[in-house]
Amino acid sequence: MENTMVREHSPDVSASEAVFGVTGMTCASCVAVIEKTLARMPGVLSANVNLASERLTVSYDPAQIDEPGIAAAVKAAGYEATPLGARSSAHTGGGTSTGSARVTLGVTGMTCSSCQAVIERTLAKVHGVSEAVVNLAAETATVTFDTDVVSVDELIGSVIEAGYGAVVLPDAEEAGGESARDLQREAQERHTRHQRNLLILSASLAIPAFVFTMVPPFMDVIPVVFSTWLANTFGGAWDPHMVMKYIGLVLATPVQFIAGAQFYRGFWHAIKQRMGNMDTLIALGTSAAYFYSLAATFWLVEEPVFYEVAAMLITFVIFGKLLEARAKGRTGDAIKKLMGLAAKTARVVRGGVEADIPVEQVVAGDVVVVRPGDKVPVDGVIVEGSSSVDESMLTGESIPVEKHEGDTVIGATINKLGSFKFRATKVGKDTALAQIIKLVEEAQGSKAPIQRFADYISSYFVPAVVLLAIVTFAVWLFLGPTLFPDALDGFTPFVKALLVGTAVLVIACPCALGLATPTAIMVGTGKGAENGVLIKSGEALETTHKTSAIVFDKTGTLTHGKPVVTEYEPFGDAIGREEFFRLAAALERSSEHPLAEAIVNHAKETGVELPQVSGFAAVPGHGVEGLVDGRSVVLGNRKLMGREGIDISPWAARIEQLEGEGKTVMLTAVDGVPAGLIAVADTLKENSREAVERLREMGVEVYMITGDNRLTAEAIAAQAGIPADHVLAEVLPEHKAAEVGKLQGRGLSVAMVGDGINDTPALAQADIGIAMGAGTDVAMETGGIVLMKDDLRDVVTAIELSRATIRRIRWNFVWALGYNSLGIPIAALGLLRPELAGGAMALSSVSVVTSSLLLRRFKPSLRKAA
């Protein structure tokens, strides 16, 4: 629900924009009231109220009105507006820029999505907070706030005030990573320990309470024996029936008020926020059973007691939450695994001496020594030696990569057989590993749009359940004796109604619903990282599954992006094949043209000795010429041959054939005689065709976009298996985004795959941008998904993973909602005792988390085939 009131204003007005948190709104009419009120205020240019987020955004002329004035106007209309700071300025920059910062808090004590909502709402209400996102599965709260208005301590205070624990998580991970999450891990462990102690306490009291009062012959013998012992020890008269009630009272009271105190606290804080959550249901359910039993112990002595119901229910819920916490812990395994990759020490050369130092002490510029089998401690560039390095832990690529002087090495990768020295370029939080960890953590902490569904249902669920429980209670109380006389099980209608109402209250708790999305996102993003696919947000993960068209940038994405010699052929017998190539390559050594580099590289790779060149000259737009071994050599295009008066017409057909294959043909003449041709082309990557085929099998339309001419483009596309009508050729870099837009205009959900260097606008325009090569900072910052290595099969992996995750989330919803849908009628019909409902409720969360954990079995289809 979003509306805007805009007033016409002069464009030269210096406008500011302010955001307010608004409370007291209940419906769309409130939105209209506030907007109309503000629209009448002098100086207000536009007012936009979002009912869902309870935010008011006002654009105003600071010369005529200020923030307190706006807040006062809203208050006069019957609502509360809290300034959340200036967001941005319009026109001539009349707004103020506030000290915006973001902090991630580790939060303990959350039990369900309602707790998440309580904390989000609590933080959002704090003056100066512009955004608060709580991740139930990761147990974190990411808060964007104005440092001029509110401090981190105050944020933590507000979370604690709401009944939860909070600690600050360091923003960026150190390369070692281990220490960065210690605070949260400690807090979580403390919380788990506390819960375990509470479980021991409650189980050791609730189980005897259940056995002594419900299980024959214990329920018959124990009270009598205990009564006899009391009579013989203290005298007096003891009714075993009453003694059984006292035993229940003594055993259940500590459970109710020590182990169960957390539910009362949560209930109270939820009430303060006018919300309901799992604590509301558990506190209401157990209190109904406990306080009724208390009355039956001292006043309504003829009535039975249900202490064991309350005690067992609390025990089951705590037990379930502990199981859930344990399972939830495993959803973050990927991050732990990544953190565990970091090296602990590094051998650096300082003052000419090699010394082992903790990796945290390595600084950029240090020369680091890496021996066979060592872990590369930080990122850097090799200055001496060579080796092969296993980068599989970061890229998923199983084959070790050859590294020579000048090549970059990445921290946490493992050196194989050789030794080398490298100069550290990135250390600590700047290393690729630290960046990856940060990126994955941010993704795991983000909310996928599909979660709005769960949030929406949860917000109505608890009040609906309380209402349903009251209706069930009333039906059983007033109509039970008439409608179901045989189902009263010997209880009075009141007692039966109480038991049934409590069971409904407990079974309907929507805890599992709140976990359905975040746990799957956590496992999904973690699994992506394991496979070299960095998914930057829950939204990216969700959007990817909808991909119906994929656009590959040609150069550097489908192809290697580096021209290589594909063939060289002599023109007749005048000069030998190897000889003409030797002369041509020697000449090209002096050229700086990219195609020349391809020829020289080929010569080096094939061991061709290159003689000295004299009289080298570049002929712009034509080619190069010079003297090699005393012979006049020219190398270039047709124009150069024409200029030199060399007839190449006998080979024209062959030249055109090669050009038709997308190759650039360079012609050579020696001493004025045609000598041969060299074809150079940017070749397709090994796995491109396989990836394209698989994508098409998956029902995704595959396009190629390039600035190349259509002939060359179609030749490469044909090799990749992309049909000619799916080739977007001769597109300038600045027009690539428009081409993506055209596909979107056809209703396609488009993924754009590029290297993030010259296709950033297209990556941004696409529904999902996939950037290749995590080695570059640009790639890391561009697109919703970053592929760690230049392998297009990872695009397939990303889509498969996204589809698997969304499928899993949907299954989780089926589990969670199906459980509630089945459980509520069973409980309402009186077929489920409250304590069993509690156990089932707790286990439903465990089942959803376990279902998410099944995603850990995800394996990319292409890798499997390989």
């Binding site: 024959p216 012959p217 214990f218 018959d220 013998v221 124990i222 009598v224 024996v225 009564s227 006899t228 009391l230 009579a231 013989n232 005298g235 007096g236 008269a237 003891w238 009714d239 075993p240 029936h241 002595v301 003829e302």
Partner: protein
């Protein structure tokens, strides 16, 4: 060390649970615990009644020691078990002697059973229903799993 302590405690708890279970079952076989009323120590309760052949309108009770305000209840003997209630007399806490319990109707069995019941619900109102034994506040007194009661011969 800590692990040993945990294992030790677990073993102790298990042993206790097993013992309690076995003991409970052995007790359950010996007694019908479900029908045990208000339990008192032997020194705090007493009931002395002699056989009274030919008694028709009342039963004389020579001595009662009641731990609390109580009821003397006379039942017909129903094959060794207390049958229909035919007489009722409220007695005060403490010792009472030479009491006479009037009988409401003619005795049809050779013996009657005189039992001492608690008065724990609404004081002065006898609230006991054999069919709702557990929920009845005025249950009979028991000492060491035995009801405080006496079988009195009334046949000529």
């Amino acid at each position: 060390m800590r692990r040993s302590a945990i294992y030790g405690a677990a073993a102790l708890v298990t042993a206790l649970a097993v013992w309690l279970t076995l003991w409970t079952f052995s007790q359950a076989r010996a007694n019908d615990f479900m029908m045990v009323g208000v339990v008192v120590a032997g020194e705090n309760v007493a009931l002395a009644v002699e056989d009274q052949p030919g008694a028709a309108d009342s039963i004389a009770v020579s001595r009662v020691l009641a731990p609390d305000d109580s009821w003397l209840v006379v039942h017909l003997d129903d094959d060794g078990m207390p049958g229909k209630r035919v007489g009722l007399l409220r007695v005060e806490e403490g010792e009472s002697v030479d009491l006479v319990v009037p009988l409401d109707e003619r005795v049809t069995s050779p013996d009657v059973i005189v039992a001492l019941h608690a008065d724990r619900g609404q004081r002065g109102t006898f609230e006991f229903d054999m069919d709702a034994f557990m929920r009845s506040p005025d249950k009979p007194y028991f000492v060491d799993f035995e009801e405080v009661a006496a079988v009195v011969a009334v046949a000529q």
